[in-house]
């Protein structure tokens, strides 16, 4: 199912369909995580991957249009690269431990300690929670830092966009003088397809999504 969805993603040119299929792909992988006993991961993936990511992509599509053009270059070279990389990876898996074996090295370092001691040391029945918030609390702090940085980046990129659109200035004019009263239509670079009033209307939508992420 995942494979079919992923292959359909390659073929589709309508980007709205691509966005919805990506959401379905995330939801299917959430189901797979549930069967692999990772319930916390499954509902994070369903909420964040299938929910917020899809909304973000849809918000972007509202701004940039939803039809993909046919690529001019041939798809043979990417295909060769992908097949080559894939075969090397398959070769690499031949030494990997078999799936589901309790004797795998991954299960013999700190994981038994977490499973046996976290009830006394932390007192939360959900081991994933106690590892996330306590044993690996610094990871979570780092994660929060990454999200903060990404949010600052998004706000810088999008906030500047709104300011320029409101003042009716083009890129070049803003660069030359911030307080120049540049009113009236100014030739924008690559103006074909740009539609400032429409983009401005959808702006708040996209930015609200960014906050959710």
């Amino acid at each position: 199912m995942l494979a079919i969805t992923a292959l359909a993603l390659v073929r589709l040119r309508n980007l709205f369909a691509v966005a919805m299929l990506a959401g379905i792909y995330s939801l299917l992988s959430a189901g797979l995580f549930t069967t692999l006993d990772a319930v916390d991961v499954a509902f994070t993936e369903a909420a964040v991957g299938a929910g917020i990511s899809t909304i973000l992509v849809l918000g972007t599509l509202a701004l940039v249009g939803h039809e993909q053009k046919k690529a001019r270059r041939s798809s043979v070279i990417p295909l060769v690269v992908v097949v080559l990389t894939g075969s090397i990876l398959v070769y690499g898996t031949l030494d990997m431990p078999p799936y589901g074996d309790p004797a795998n090295p991954a299960h013999h370092h700190v994981a038994p300690h977490y499973l046996e001691e976290s009830e006394h040391e932390i007192g939360i029945p959900n081991v994933v929670t106690s590892v996330l918030a306590s044993y690996r609390g610094y990871d979570t702090l780092g994660e929060t830092t990454v999200i903060f940085t990404a949010m600052v980046g998004v706000l810088l990129l999008m906030g500047g966009l709104r300011k320029r659109e409101n003042s009716g200035e083009t890129d070049a004019e803003t660069r030359e003088s911030e307080d120049a009263s540049g009113s009236g239509p100014v030739p924008t670079h690559g103006g074909s397809g740009t539609d400032p009033p429409k983009a401005d209307g959808k702006k708040t939508h996209g930015e609200g999504d960014a906050h959710g992420g």
């Binding site: 995942l2 494979a3 992923a6 980007l15 691509v18 990506a22 797979l32 995580f33 692999l36 006993d37 990772a38 916390d40 991961v41 994070t44 993936e45 991957g49 992509v57 972007t60 599509l61 701004l63 940039v64 993909q68 690529a71 990417p78 295909l79 992908v82 097949v83 990389t85 894939g86 990876l89 398959v90 898996t93 031949l94 990997m96 799936y99 299960h107 977490y114 499973l115 976290s118 081991v127 994933v128 590892v131 990871d139 979570t140 994660e143 940085t149 990404a150 949010m151 998004v154 990129l157 999008m158 966009l161 890129d171 070049a172 660069r175 670079h189 690559g190 397809g193 740009t194 960014a210």
Partner: protein, 134 residues
């Protein structure tokens, strides 16, 4: 037996390569980011499948003494999912900015515009605003 034990890796490799293919072959920047998400999810599947123990159950402590799957990959991937959405948001906002500067999100068109600008540089075509800010 040996081959069946490696099937999860091969499934992950297939999904990863589909994402990789979308990333390098498609010209549309939004679709590239979707491909990046597919790629990312395949790595999640790799980690989670490595944490699975046959006959195990979700690592939530209960009565009795069942076998629990390894909780560590779950924690790592929880972090990775959230970071993945942060990168997606940043990437998509970059796409919006590129659309604002170039009027298109197709790689071929952007390349053409860049070439056109390089050809007529002395006519002071207003394009370098984005580079200046970046």
């Amino acid at each position: 037996m040996n081959v069946m034990g490696l099937m999860n890796y091969w499934a992950f490799i297939f999904l990863m390569m589909v994402g990789f293919y979308i990333l390098i072959s498609q010209g549309n920047l939004v679709k590239k980011i979707v491909g990046l998400n597919v790629f990312q999810t395949s790595v999640f599947i790799l980690y989670i499948s490595m944490g699975k123990i046959r006959g195990g159950t979700a690592p939530i402590l209960t009565e009795g003494d069942p076998i629990y799957s390894n909780p560590l990959p779950h924690v790592l991937i929880l972090t990775a999912i959230v970071v993945g959405v942060a990168t997606t948001a940043l990437g998509l906002s970059l796409v919006v900015r590129i659309h604002e500067a170039y009027g298109t999100v197709e790689e071929d068109d952007i390349h053409d515009l860049d070439l056109a600008v390089a050809g007529g540089e002395d006519q002071s075509f207003p394009v370098s605003g984005m580079d200046a800010r970046a």
